[in-house]
Every structure is written in structure tokens, then in C-alpha cells.
């Protein structure tokens, strides 16, 4: 049993547990905090995969910016308690069945049939992290410049849209 495997299993258990905690806690604030924990664990997975920049971006963008936005809205609306009952009776079991079927199907395909062919075993040595960061910057601003610019326009549009949607209407019809 390699140290990598032990690390992977512990982290995987932590990721699944925090995701389930997000799902099962009735308080929306606890839900969001469990999701922050889950994002931090996933960032460690990115480090394990040799992608340090993605890991740091995960911590700052996801666990930082996005989850702060979530917590801000949850506390702004005061919607921290979920009203129990009054659910559609078939909705929750049906959703659970669908999710379990999906994960069993995927696990069967991936584990029983093995990895897809054409994916070779990876080089065992991690590339130097600063070198890989440089490579990624070259790819992002060279080959993928147009998608990068489109993404920035998308962010601008989302920002303007969010302001327009959330703006208080002055004396208008309600």
C-alpha cells in the first residue's frame, strides 16, 4: 500500500463526507460552510495531480469569492432555515434513486472495464511547477487567447446582468 493510495483514500473520504454534510445539513449556512471545506479538499486533489495553479485558483475563486457571495446572499435573505415538510412525496426518493443509479453506473464503467484505451500510464515525475505555470500561461494567452477573451466578456456581461437584476426599482410597480 503506497502512501499515495492512503492519501487518496483519506482525501476521497473527506470529500464525500463534506459533500454529504452539505447535502444533509438543514441550515443553509452550514451547507455553504461544508461546501467550502469540500472545495479545500478538492484543492488538495489538484496538488496531488500536479496542478498547483489550479489548486490555488480553486481556493481563492471557489472557496473564497464564490462562497463568500453565497454566504452573503444567505444571510441577506435570512433564509437560513429550510422549512421542512410540504415536499412532493415522490421527489426525494426518486432523486436519490437517480443519483445512486448514476454513480453505480459510472463506477461500474470506470472500475470494472478499466481506464479508456489510449490513455497511457503517465510519466511518474511531476513537471517542475514554475515551468508548468509558464507553459500554461503561454497556452492561455497564445493558443487559447480567443476563448480567454470571450470568457472575460462573459464575466463582464454577468456582472452587468447581476447589477441590473438585483437593482432596487425606484417607485416602480412591484
Amino acid at each position: 500500500m503506497n502512501i499515495d493510495f492512503i492519501l487518496f483514500l483519506v482525501l476521497a473520504l473527506a470529500a464525500i463526507a463534506t459533500a454529504l454534510g452539505m447535502l444533509l445539513s438543514r441550515n443553509a449556512v452550514y451547507s455553504a460552510l461544508f461546501l467550502v471545506l469540500n472545495f479545500a479538499v478538492v484543492a488538495v486533489f489538484y496538488l496531488l495531480l500536479g496542478a498547483p495553479f489550479i489548486a490555488m485558483a480553486q481556493v481563492t475563486v471557489y472557496a473564497g469569492a464564490i462562497m463568500v457571495l453565497f454566504l452573503f446572499v444567505i444571510m441577506l435573505l435570512g433564509a437560513d432555515e429550510l422549512a421542512p415538510g410540504k415536499a412532493l412525496p415522490w421527489q426525494r426518493p426518486l432523486a436519490a434513486t437517480l443519483a445512486v443509479v448514476l454513480v453505480i453506473e459510472a463506477a461500474y464503467l470506470l472500475l470494472a472495464r478499466g481506464a479508456p484505451s489510449g490513455l497511457v500510464t503517465p510519466p511518474t515525475e511531476y513537471t517542475n511547477s514554475t515551468e508548468s505555470l509558464r507553459e500554461m500561461a503561454l497556452a492561455l494567452f497564445g493558443q487559447y487567447l480567443l476563448p480567454f477573451e470571450i470568457t472575460s466578456i462573459l464575466l463582464l456581461v454577468a456582472m452587468v446582468g447581476a447589477i441590473v437584476l438585483a437593482k432596487q426599482e425606484k417607485g416602480g410597480r412591484r
Binding site: 443553509a28 478538492v42 485558483a57 433564509a79 459510472a106 470506470l110 510519466p123 472575460s152
Partner: protein, 102 residues
């Protein structure tokens, strides 16, 4: 080295948990949290395929960054919609937002 299929299975499990959250939760903010979890699982897939296929090409990481940006945009617009709905109808329960239901 950990097999690729382990990462993919973990990602599938996280995706399924997120999907259950989207299907079963009633709070609109909780539904958005489930969508975040699903996007995150997709990102694990992208990065692990990058690592196991050809780490010299940086395509997988670039796609992961673009998914980050799209997730941020989606959250901003989604939460603005939730605030707007809450202001007009005074609820964030998805079952009660049935204005377009016939």
C-alpha cells in the same frame, strides 16, 4: 501512481451528490450550491484527464480555468435572480416560484 479510474469515480460520486442536491432541495440557494458541486466534479475530471493523458499540453488546465470563470458568472447571475425573486415574491422556495407553470 493512483489509477485514473479512481479519480473519475470520485468525480462521479461528487457529481451524483450534487445532482441529488439539485433535484431534491427546495431552497433555491441550496440548488445553486448543488450546481457548484457538479461543476467542481467536472473540474476534477478535466484536471485528471490532463494529468494522465499528456501533461506537456496544458489544455486541461486551461479548460479548468475557463470553467472557474463560467462558474463565477453563473453564481453571480443566479444569486441576483434569487434576490430579485425574493424581493418580488418574498420566498426562495423553488416549489413556490411557479409563475410560469401552466
Amino acid at each position: 501512481m493512483i489509477p485514473l479510474s479512481w479519480y473519475l469515480t470520485l468525480s462521479a460520486a461528487l457529481f451524483s451528490i450534487g445532482m441529488f442536491g439539485v433535484l431534491a432541495r427546495k431552497n433555491a440557494v441550496a440548488i445553486l450550491l448543488g450546481i457548484e458541486l457538479m461543476l467542481n466534479a467536472v473540474n476534477i475530471n478535466l484536471v485528471s484527464f490532463w494529468r494522465y493523458n499528456n501533461p506537456v499540453l496544458m489544455d486541461g488546465q486551461v479548460f479548468a480555468i475557463i470553467v472557474f470563470a463560467v462558474a463565477a458568472a453563473e453564481v453571480a447571475v443566479g444569486l441576483a435572480l434569487v434576490i430579485s425573486i425574493y424581493r418580488r415574491r418574498n420566498t426562495v422556495v423553488a416549489d413556490e416560484i411557479d409563475l410560469m407553470k401552466w
